[in-house]
Every structure is written in structure tokens, then in C-alpha cells.
């Protein structure tokens, strides 16, 4: 497949919960998006903005009330479309690892995905081993019960359980929720490292700008079921005032750079990470 090919296309997708009753909620409102191969995307929005609903459409777990989703050019709502295959191709890690860990050992649990793919016992073991290596779970935990692991380790085991299926697109729904700052950084850099190693498409769902700004190359901001901004981090954070009104915040460096500019210093405000900001300030000082 050529690079930059469109892997996933959402074409005017809308989704309503409990249509026709008092509980009716529009979770997605006419969303059109294209996702290219090899992209590292962050989807951001506050609670209830429709970001989780959006990604669950990408692997067919939720069916749009209107519109179409295409994976590698094929409409996934076609009658004879192989949904099971799609789900192994578009791997999805959910917010709480507790929702998927069930086996007696971590190793057996990671084997569950490859087993459902119909691989041989030998391949299942190989895949599970590779996946657990990739998420850097220490080997002494391979045969432990998944319920004995710490929060961060559970998260790693859950991610391993999905990448053992070798998906070409990996979606992670709030992979850092409930982790301490160190656990959060570990998981995020792990995801970024895996992206570099495997060159796959990664979609990271989060409500925290700081989380994604350092890692992704494209940010989609969701608000009330619609994508409102879509672009590189610096393009998106240029709208930091509007983001605030949606209950989101730009990374702290965006504020620092804007304050410096307001104070009359000649700096560009496009920096999104601390390192970029440092370089920009040094450049200005050396001039």
C-alpha cells in the first residue's frame, strides 16, 4: 500500500442514541473525516463530545444511523462485509483494561485475540510473546493473574491483547485515564515508540491537550458531536481562546508564548512542546 493512502473514511456519519424517545441524544452530527495510513492522530474533546462514539464507528462496534464508513475503500456496512476481520484490522483498546481482562494468566489473555483470528497454537504463543515484549511488560508478570497487576501494568496487558492481532490501525480510548503522571508518560511514550517501530496508523482519544500535544501529528477537536478543528497541533492551538470556551485548554506553553508575544517580544506562538518553545525563545534572544 502506498503511503498516505486513505485507510478510513467517514462520510456524513450521524449517530443518535435511543431515537424517537425522551432519551434521544445526538452523539455524532454529520461527521466527515479521512484518516491516512501511518498518521498519528489525537482526538480531543470533553466528556460527552462524541469522541468515543466516533472511534467506535471506525471498527463497526457502533452502526451509524446515517452515513457510511469505508475501510481500505470498502463500505463496512455492505451486507457481506467481514466485520470480524475489520475488528482485527482496526484494533481498539478501551478505556478500562478491567473490561477485557478475564483469563487466568496475562499470557492466556493476550492470546485471546489471535485465538479468535483462528491462528495455530504456535502462532498464538508467538504473537502473545511479541506483543508483551512490545508493551514492555516485565516477564515475571506473564504468568500472573491479570487481576493482580497494577493500573499501569493492566493497561499494558490490555494494549498487548489488542496489538497481538497485528492491526493496521490502532485506536486507544483514553489510555491514560486513572494513571498517575509517571504511568501516563510511560504509556504515552510506549504508544509513540510502537508507532515509530511499526509504522501503523494510531488514533489516540483523550480529553487532555497536554497528553497528545507532545506526540501526535494531527489533532481533531470534537465538540457536541462535530469535529470543530482538524489540523497540526500548532494550527489547532492557535485557537486556544475558542478551545477554552469548549472547556478544553491548550498546552501551557501555548499560553506562555502568547503572553510573551503580548508583552512585545518577537516570538512565534506555534510551539506546542516545551522543547519547541525553548528553541523559539533562544532564537529570539540570539537575534
Amino acid at each position: 500500500m502506498a503511503a498516505n493512502e486513505n485507510v478510513l473514511i467517514m462520510d456524513h456519519v450521524s449517530y443518535k442514541y435511543s431515537p424517537g424517545t425522551a432519551y434521544e441524544v445526538t452523539a455524532l452530527d454529520d461527521v466527515s473525516l479521512t484518516i491516512k495510513e501511518g498518521e498519528f492522530i489525537g482526538i480531543i474533546g470533553h466528556t460527552g463530545s462524541g469522541k468515543s462514539t466516533l472511534v467506535q464507528h471506525l471498527n463497526g462496534l457502533m452502526k451509524a444511523t446515517e452515513g457510511h464508513v469505508y475501510f481500505n475503500g470498502q463500505d463496512i456496512y455492505d451486507k457481506d462485509y467481514n466485520m470480524k476481520n475489520l475488528r482485527t484490522q482496526v484494533g481498539m483498546v478501551f478505556q478500562y483494561p478491567e473490561h477485557q481482562l478475564f483469563e487466568t494468566t496475562v499470557f492466556e489473555d493476550v492470546k485471546f485475540g489471535p485465538k479468535n483470528q483462528g491462528l495455530s497454537e504456535e502462532d498464538q504463543i508467538k504473537r502473545a510473546y511479541e506483543a508483551l515484549e512490545l508493551v514492555k511488560l516485565p516477564e515475571e508478570f506473564f504468568l500472573a493473574s491479570p487481576f493482580e497487576l497494577s493500573g499501569g501494568q493492566k493497561r499494558r496487558a490490555a494494549i498487548a491483547g489488542v496489538i497481538a492481532m497485528k492491526p493496521s490501525v490502532l485506536i486507544l480510548d483514553e489510555p491514560t485515564a486513572g494513571l498517575d503522571p509517571k504511568g501516563r508518560d510511560d504509556v504515552l511514550s510506549l504508544i509513540s515508540e510502537m508507532h515509530e517501530k511499526r509504522g501503523d496508523t494510531v488514533i489516540l482519544v483523550s480529553h487532555s491537550m497536554e497528553d497528545v500535544a507532545n506526540y501526535v501529528d494531527r489533532i481533531i477537536v470534537m465538540d457536541t458531536g462535530k469535529p470543530v478543528y482538524d489540523g497540526t497541533p500548532s494550527q489547532v492551538f492557535a485557537n486556544y481562546k475558542e478551545l477554552e470556551q469548549m472547556g478544553l485548554a491548550a498546552p501551557a506553553v501555548t499560553y506562555v508564548m502568547n503572553d510573551l508575544k503580548d508583552a512585545g517580544l518577537d516570538v512565534a506562538t506555534t510551539a506546542t512542546t516545551v522543547f519547541e518553545a525553548r528553541d523559539e525563545i533562544l532564537r529570539m534572544l540570539n537575534k
Binding site: 471498527n59 475488528r87 478501551f94 481482562l101 478475564f102
Partner: protein, 266 residues
Amino acid sequence: MLRDITIGQYYPADSVLHSLDPRVKLFATLVFIITLFGANNIFLFAFVLVTLIGIIKLSHVPFSFMVRGLRAIVVLLVIAGLFNMFLTPGRELVRFGFLKITDVGLKNAVLMTSRMVLLIIGTSVMTLTTTPNQLTDGLEKSFGFLKKVGVSVHEIALMMSIALRFIPILVEETDKIMKAQMARGADFESGNIFQKAKNMVPLLVPLFVSAFRRANDLSYAMEARCYNGGEGRTKMRPLKYSSLDQRAYICIFTYIILFYAVKFVM
């Protein structure tokens, strides 16, 4: 798909039924069930049916919402209907091999299934218009006299309200777990009954783990707020009858009198 489970679900709306005292609604439901099974001819049945339609209209709950609860018991209804139709002795109408439909069987089948349908709809009118909290308050108060013979009414009512409260949470949780496992290629639909049961393991284990964790958390939260049973406990909103409830009781008694008047005259 799991969102379709409507047992014990509350439907928020602004109607006369929603503002009635839960005790009135419990009594009315009881009366409804007794008269429904006491209706042994078409006129009485029509009388019960018309009353129910009137009540549904009053409740401001969409009719489609009530029928949803029926979906779960369609199989049961069909089986019960068929058994009644084919296995009741009486005058033979049609015969397929060794199966025969009799006049009594046909009558029983129709009466049985429509009774069950009305029973489900009638009781769901109550749960749809009463919050689980009101319902248990009503039950606790109505059965309060049992305390004298040693039944722990408060505890049972509390258990019931916790159970009802947890239904939507566990349904949502089940939905999430199913999705997480389906994302790993799990299949909950195909296969024979043994394979299906085996395929449920990845769903049931996380569900049980989470249910126990929630129960444990809840007990801590209750103890942290000094809960120690119903003894000496007061209510923020004690149940009190209003004039609306009095009028409702008058309506219920009028209904009973009318029903039995028709029943004995016919």
C-alpha cells in the same frame, strides 16, 4: 441492543401518574392484576382493556416504550399460546396429524396471551412512571405492618432499590465489556448452545469482578455516611397523601365496584 431492556426503567415525564403517591400506584396495579385475571368474558376484558388504554394515555409515556418490554417474552408467549391451543381438550375445529385445535383451546390461547401482554404492559406503566426510590419507599410503607411479625421490611426494600438502581449500570457495563471483547474478535452470537455458553466466559468474568467491586465500594460509601439500618431513620421526603391521591383512590374503588357489578349482572 442492551438498551432495549426496560425492566424497572423509569421514563421521566410530567403527568398525573408521575405525581401520584407510589402507594396508590401499587394498590392500583394490584387491583388491575386481580381484575385482569377475574375478567372471564369479553365485556369484562374490554372494560379492563379500555381502562388500561386510558391510563396509558394519562401517563404521557410513548406507547412504543411499553411494548419494548414485551420483546423479551415473545418466545414465552408463543410457546404458552401454542400449548394452550393444541393441548386443551374440547370440540375439535381443525386437525393437523395428531395435533388438533379445539374451541376451548383457541379461546384459552387467545385469553392467556392477551392476559400476559396486558399484565406486562400494566405493570410496566407503574415502573415507568415511578422512580425506583419512590417504588421502594412505597413498598416499605405499604408492607410496614409485617415488621411486627419479624420481617425486616426496611432491609428488603433497600436491597430491592439497590438492585433496581444497579440494573442500568450493569447493563451499560455489559455493553462496554461486550464491545471490548468483540474488538478482540469475540463472537457472542454464533455456535450451538454449549459454544455460546463457553463464549460468555470473557463477558461474565469481567462483569462479576466489576459487580463485586462496585458492591464493595457501595458498602464502604454507606458505612462512611454512618448507615446502620432502618432503625430511627427519617426521610427527607416522607410519603404524604395529597388530594390528588384521594381522588385516585376514589377512581380505583369506583373501578372495582363497576367491574364486579358488571361481573355479577352478566
